[in-house]
């Protein structure tokens, strides 16, 4: 992750040695609609190192899926640069819809290889590869001859993950991969993702609205609101001691956590809206007059006096909120902490 204003070379101290496998700077994307534009992504920067998982969270319409499509290259950004160390395959929420209904699992898994090598038929080597991939994702070999509709939701998602791994990428992107699965199946897929990451230091971009899953799986998180990152940093910090009022509201809405006092009011905004100030100001209980006039920039937490933040935490966290930024400058604790 990169702050748009100042380039940063060191991130989490533990990960300084690992290499950057995906980097995007200041991506924007608008779509033309009758009567104007939808500004789906409004200047987002992403940086991901090998062996790490970046979660992107936010409500519907916040631009998560557009950002995903920009990162993998399904869409071209209006502006901004993406550099990646390999092709980024994508796994979708709809496990059935993303598999060809008339191909067998063995063909589905290695389809990217067939396309890359311009092959029409499976070769013995590719057959072996299909079996290896199935084994890696915990799919029993006897399913290689099945069709997608014969598999359960969890098994289908394993096929999708195997296919994503077939070209041996250094990054994969998963868009809500477990949201449609039952809890006990979710656990299997989450375990699989952790294993895959440990084996080959795979980097993962994980798009989700489920904070419990994000807390479990991800190292870093970016919180999106109306096409912008409002807060980013290590998961254990952002999702435990949120700085931005919107992150706090999301957490207060998490049914797995005890009821919080800062639950959100109002509905997620429409991406059609053009606002002069902070997109969250309308729903924010801390909003001041400046919030509806200027757009806050994503800035690193620079204040070193804040007792609850260590130096390393402060360096890796960034927040786009005037109220928080001012209180950090003035050396206060957490502007939005209850009480």
């Amino acid at each position: 992750m990169v702050d748009p204003s100042t380039e940063r070379t060191t991130a989490q101290p533990a990960a300084t040695s690992s290499k950057v496998v995906l980097k995007a700077t200041d991506l924007t994307k608008s779509y033309r609609v009758p009567g104007g534009y939808v500004r789906a992504v409004r200047g987002i920067s992403v940086e991901l190192k090998s062996g790490r998982t970046l979660a992107i969270v936010g409500e519907s319409g916040c631009g998560k899926s557009t950002l995903a499509r920009l990162l993998v290259g399904l869409e071209l950004p209006d502006s901004g640069i993406t550099t990646k160390s390999s092709l980024i395959p994508m796994v979708f929420q709809d496990s059935l819809g993303s598999l060809h209904p008339r191909r067998r699992v063995r063909q589905l898994i290695v389809e990217p290889i067939l396309i890359r090598d311009r092959l029409i038929r499976m070769t013995p080597e590719i057959e072996t590869l299909a079996a290896d991939l199935a084994r890696r994702v915990g799919l029993p070999i006897e399913y290689l001859d099945s069709f997608a509709h014969e598999l359960s939701g969890g098994q289908r998602q394993r096929v999708n993950i195997a296919r994503a791994l077939s070209l041996d990428p250094s990054v994969i992107l998963l868009d809500e991969p477990v949201s449609a699965l039952d809890v006990s199946i979710q656990a299997q897929i989450l375990n699989l993702l952790v294993d895959l990451q440990n084996q080959k230091s795979l980097a993962i971009v994980f798009i989700s609205h489920d904070l419990s899953v994000v807390r479990h799986l991800a190292h870093d998180v970016q919180v999106l609101y109306l096409g912008q990152v409002v807060e980013e940093g290590p998961v254990e910090k952002v999702l435990r001691e949120p700085l931005h009022p919107y992150t706090a509201a999301l957490l207060a809405s998490d049914p797995a956590l005890p009821a919080g006092p800062t639950a959100s009011v109002g509905e997620p905004p429409s991406p059609y809206e053009v606002l002069p100030g902070c997109a969250y100001a309308k729903r924010c209980s801390f909003a001041e007059s400046i919030c509806s006039q200027n757009i806050p920039k994503l800035e690193k937490i620079t204040n070193q006096k804040t007792p609850s933040l260590t130096q390393a935490d402060a360096e890796s966290r960034a927040v786009a909120c005037f109220v928080v930024q001012r209180s950090q400058r003035e050396g206060h604790e957490n502007a939005i902490a209850p009480g």
Partner: protein, 329 residues
């Protein structure tokens, strides 16, 4: 403010069959007047079919046995006319997808007006409009006058769900069945709808049956939670008991499969080995025996009855581990 509901729902030994499949094998549900009960289970566990059976909305070829007692009257034995009278008037239901439970060709106002006219027999159009607007305001719709003439597609998911709640409330039901009402919504909106349902339940004195796959969500709105597995109700406890001290091995496994807020990240989650038995399978013993970690011989041959787990009424777990007299091996 209305009186507290005096109606009681008691489902005994409910089974629902379609041809050779039995998706609901044996459901027991008791909802005391004014109580909120969470009905939790994974997909295919029979929770939604059970709620459709209460409403009398199952397809005709479904074979239903057992009893659904509404104030002592067995709904499975009464005429279609009597059921129609109850539906919407005494028992109302809201669904997961608010967009498809509203008619896209009519305005919000028209659809609420229809309920008031047909279900409550309100004759005067002006009185209906007044009551309708009052209902929209009550479910938290800003500017109800403007929304009255809006079409469903002009509303967000959260707003449509509020409208369908208003329609359900229009008949002043004694029991509201909510089938996954927040699953399609964003988390912040989900929490708002959960809070709305809790407060409406109190202010209207209704009973609430809240069907969901999410134990955490159910614990936010419900007094008690009953857990379905493979068409059987396997455990019932108060919401806090169920989350902190589950008794049935399935409930325990389900809770351990979800990442918990305090757990260290990226540790292995509990996986429930095996698969849910098919609806067509004939099961001699406990439905969970094929996947249970603590299974012993008796579990495969005999169906565990509902062993009492607490001094509080109606709390049980169907598991021989809880049988006070039986052997545990």
């Amino acid at each position: 403010m209305r009186r507290v509901s005096s109606s009681k729902l008691e489902i005994r030994n409910l089974a629902i069959r379609f041809g050779r499949g039995t998706p609901v094998r044996n459901a027991e549900i008791l909802i005391e007047p004014g109580q909120s009960l969470g009905v939790v289970g994974e997909s295919g566990s029979g929770k939604s079919l059970t709620s459709l059976a209460i409403m009398g909305l199952l397809p005709e070829h479904a074979e239903v046995t057992g009893e659904i007692l509404w104030n002592g009257q067995d709904l499975l034995k009464v005429s279609a006319n009597v059921r129609r009278e109850l539906r919407g008037r005494e028992i109302a239901m809201i669904f997961q997808d608010p967009m498809s439970s509203l008619n896209p060709s009519f305005t919000v106002g028209f659809q609420i007006d229809e309920v008031l006219k047909l279900r409550l027999g309100m004759r005067e159009a002006s009185a209906r409009r007044e009551r309708g607007l009052q209902l929209l305001a009550e479910v938290g719709i800003p500017a109800p006058h403007e929304r009255w003439s809006a079409y469903p597609h002009q509303l967000s998911g959260g707003m449509s769900q509020r409208v369908s709640i208003a329609m359900a409330l229009a008949g002043e039901p004694e029991l509201l069945i909510a089938d996954e009402p927040t699953t399609a919504l964003d988390v912040t909106v989900q929490m708002q709808i959960l809070e709305l349902l809790s407060s409406l339940k109190k202010s209207h004195g209704m009973s609430l049956m809240f069907v969901t796959h999410d134990l955490a969500v159910a614990s936010r709105v419900c007094d008690d939670i009953v857990v379905f597995y493979a068409g059987r109700t396997v455990e019932r406890a108060s919401a806090s008991q169920l989350l902190s001290r589950p008794r049935h091995p399935y409930t325990k496994a389900l809770l351990r499969a979800r990442p918990q807020p305090g757990d260290p990240a990226r540790t292995r989650l509990n996986v429930i080995e095996g698969i849910v038995p098919r609806a067509s399978e004939d099961i001699q013993g406990c439905v969970f025996a094929s996947r249970c970690e603590s299974v012993f011989d008796r579990c495969r041959s005999e169906i565990p009855s509902r062993f009492v787990t607490s001094n509080a009424p109606n709390q049980f777990a169907s598991c021989f581990l809880i049988d006070p007299t039986g052997e545990k091996k």
